[in-house]
């Protein structure tokens, strides 16, 4: 629906006059027009200009360790699957559609296979995407061009430290260039976990009625923690966590729309900050992990790995939050007011069972659809989306912390996202285009 009450059509070249994102450096205010969250035109433009033009997280290499292992999941609404090639050992990402008449060729979410057969007419493809079998091929008088009828690859696939990304844009810059300053923070997370990580079994897949960008903001928002998550902090106090230190830190722009907040926080971290809740038994192991990190990376970096929490946005829609546990979360819009969330837990592969237990506990107590915090975030974001429907208030204010070295509970990290969003959206980020 349209929030814009005026009927005038913006003349060409009016982008600077009526943009959806108003970054006013003179008055230190930053505003986002709420039609950015409600307009079907904006949603369509986002699919074309952002999700078709970015590197998108597909999955983790540990999900397909062995040749033939595959996972299937939608990528920005498009059915794709990722498979470890039996011949090449490479990670292949294919459009999940038979090149004959279109049916899905991969019809399970996870598994291992040597051949993907389309059940409709029994065309079959190998794990490298090559067309291998067509029944009654003599029926094709001109002969079937097998090399042209292999599974269609998603144009670009690259991975960084185990995170597999794909892009529908053949011309996009290489992944390391795209990740820019985020690379170093991914290194911190992975090196901090000992370098060898896996996703724990068990996936959080949930959706709710709000625009996807609200969850992007929320995932890196330090400001809301105390008010929205009061019951979680009360729980921490009830089990003996000392909240005196509070949550203190800063926001950092990482380039290309990526941003991170890094901050000290009162809760323990399985790597490698002990707290009484973890029990005396875990103390030695955590101290050992910590000493190991110091010897490998030096005191300063080991401190960052062990004591500092990170909520990171990899633009446009990947969140890696290294907090009381490490969560990897993708955020995709299925409609202007509907968001699909998928979240996993990342953990060291050879973690001590007692620490894995603590990590799992820490994760699910705070995070996820059954945790003490995530449901209240869902409530907040649905509440915002409902608030936009009235149209009486046209703008969100995201000015907090402008003009000072941005702190973790400021909003600079969201402004970083919105500036890049506006840049990519171009003319679609005008109020006239937001119907």
């Amino acid at each position: 629906m349209s929030i814009d009450a005026t009927t005038q059509t913006a003349p060409a070249g009016d982008v600077a006059v009526r943009p959806l994102v108003v970054d006013d450096q003179v008055n230190q205010t930053f505003r986002v027009h709420r039609s950015a969250m409600t307009s079907p035109d904006v949603h369509r433009a986002e699919i074309e200009r952002i999700f078709a033009k970015s590197w998108l997280y597909v999955g983790h290499e540990s999900e397909i360790s062995n040749p033939g292992d595959f996972v299937r999941r939608p990528l920005a609404g498009r059915p794709i699957f990722m498979v470890r090639g039996v011949d090449s050992g490479n990670i292949n990402v294919f459009h999940n559609s038979c090149t004959h008449r279109g049916a899905l060729v991969c019809r399970q979410d996870t598994g291992s296979a040597k051949v993907f057969s389309c059940f409709y007419h029994a065309w079959s493809f190998d794990t490298e995407g090559r067309l291998k079998g067509v029944p009654d091929r003599d029926a094709y008088a001109g002969g079937l061009k097998f090399d042209e009828l292999g599974l269609k690859r998603v144009p670009r696939v690259e991975s960084y430290r185990g995170f597999v990304f794909a892009s529908f844009d053949p011309e996009i810059v290489d992944l390391p260039t795209y990740l820019a300053g985020a690379k170093d923070y991914i290194d911190l997370v992975i090196d901090g976990c000992g370098g060898n990580v896996e996703l724990a079994r068990g996936t959080n897949e949930y959706s709710f009625t709000a625009n996807w960008k609200l969850l992007v903001e929320n995932s890196i928002d330090g400001y809301h923690a105390q008010s929205t998550h009061d019951t979680y902090f009360k729980y921490l106090v009830s089990i003996g966590t000392d909240l005196q230190g509070g949550v203190k830190g800063r926001a950092v722009a990482l380039g290309n729309g990526h941003a991170v907040i890094e901050y000290s926080a009162p809760w323990g971290r399985p790597v490698a900050k002990w707290e009484p809740l973890f029990g005396e038994d875990a103390r030695d192991e955590i101290n050992r992990l910590r000493a190991d990190l110091v010897s490998r990376y030096g005191e300063e970096r080991a401190h960052a790995m062990s004591e500092v929490n990170r909520n990171m946005l990899i633009y446009p829609n990947l969140i890696i939050n290294d907090i009381m546990a490490v969560t990897v979360r993708t955020i995709f819009p299925s409609a202007p007011d509907r968001v699909d969330v998928t979240a996993w837990q990342l953990a060291p592969r050879d973690e001590l069972p007692s620490l894995r237990q603590r990590r799992l506990d820490s994760f699910l107590t705070f995070l996820g659809p059954g945790g003490f915090a995530t449901p209240d975030d869902v409530e907040a974001l649905e509440s915002c989306q409902q608030g936009y429907a009235g149209g009486g208030v046209e703008w969100n204010d995201i000015s907090r912390g402008m003009g000072r070295g941005p702190m973790a509970n400021d909003e600079e990290q969201m402004r970083v996202f919105w500036r890049r969003w506006q840049q990519q959206m171009g003319s679609a980020a005008e109020r006239a285009g937001a119907r």
């Binding site: 996936t203 949930y206 237990q357 409530e379």
Partner: protein, 164 residues
């Protein structure tokens, strides 16, 4: 005589219906009183209904301390997702009673649907309950409750903020 032989399915059903009534009435303190202090309450992820809390990520893995914290949270006005509370209807079917490994306990499996209505939204949770129930002098006590969801994901219901 085994534990299962000493109780009838009807007694077990009556107990489960009474538990459901407490949840539907949001009498959570009384509901918590049904649990023994070493009890657990688990809800596995949709894609790993056999999930093991020692190694796998679950949606909910509450020991008694955390279960109590869950009740405290849901009783407060600051559990925003559940303030105001949903109206719920916990329904139990296909109840089966067996002996578990522990003496003095019975193992109960059942099917459930839990309907949740709030702010114009309807959600329905479908799955299987697994209980271990102890027979004490004062009646039944819950030693273990697990709700395994049959839905392939939580897209339609958003969260598990209520107790299943």
């Amino acid at each position: 005589m085994t534990a299962a032989a000493t109780v009838s399915r009807q007694q077990v059903e009556d107990f489960l219906y009474a538990e459901a009534a407490l949840l539907d009435a949001w009498s959570l303190d009384e509901w918590l009183d049904l649990f023994d202090p070493d009890a657990k309450y688990e809800v596995p992820c949709n894609d790993a209904p056999d999930g093991n809390p020692d190694t796998d990520l679950l949606l909910i893995d509450d020991d008694y301390t955390r279960l109590k914290a869950r009740v405290v949270r849901l009783n407060s006005r600051r559990a925003h997702r559940e303030y105001p509370h949903s109206r719920t209807n916990h329904q139990i079917f296909n109840v089966r009673v067996a002996d578990p490994d522990e003496p003095g306990e019975i193992a109960v499996t059942a099917s459930f649907t839990v309907w949740r209505f709030r702010g114009g939204k309807t959600s329905c949770y479908v799955g299987k309950y697994r209980y271990r129930i102890r027979l004490s002098g004062t009646g039944f006590r819950i030693a273990f409750k697990r709700a395994e969801l049959d839905m392939s994901d939580l897209r339609a219901v958003s969260d598990v903020a209520i107790i299943l």
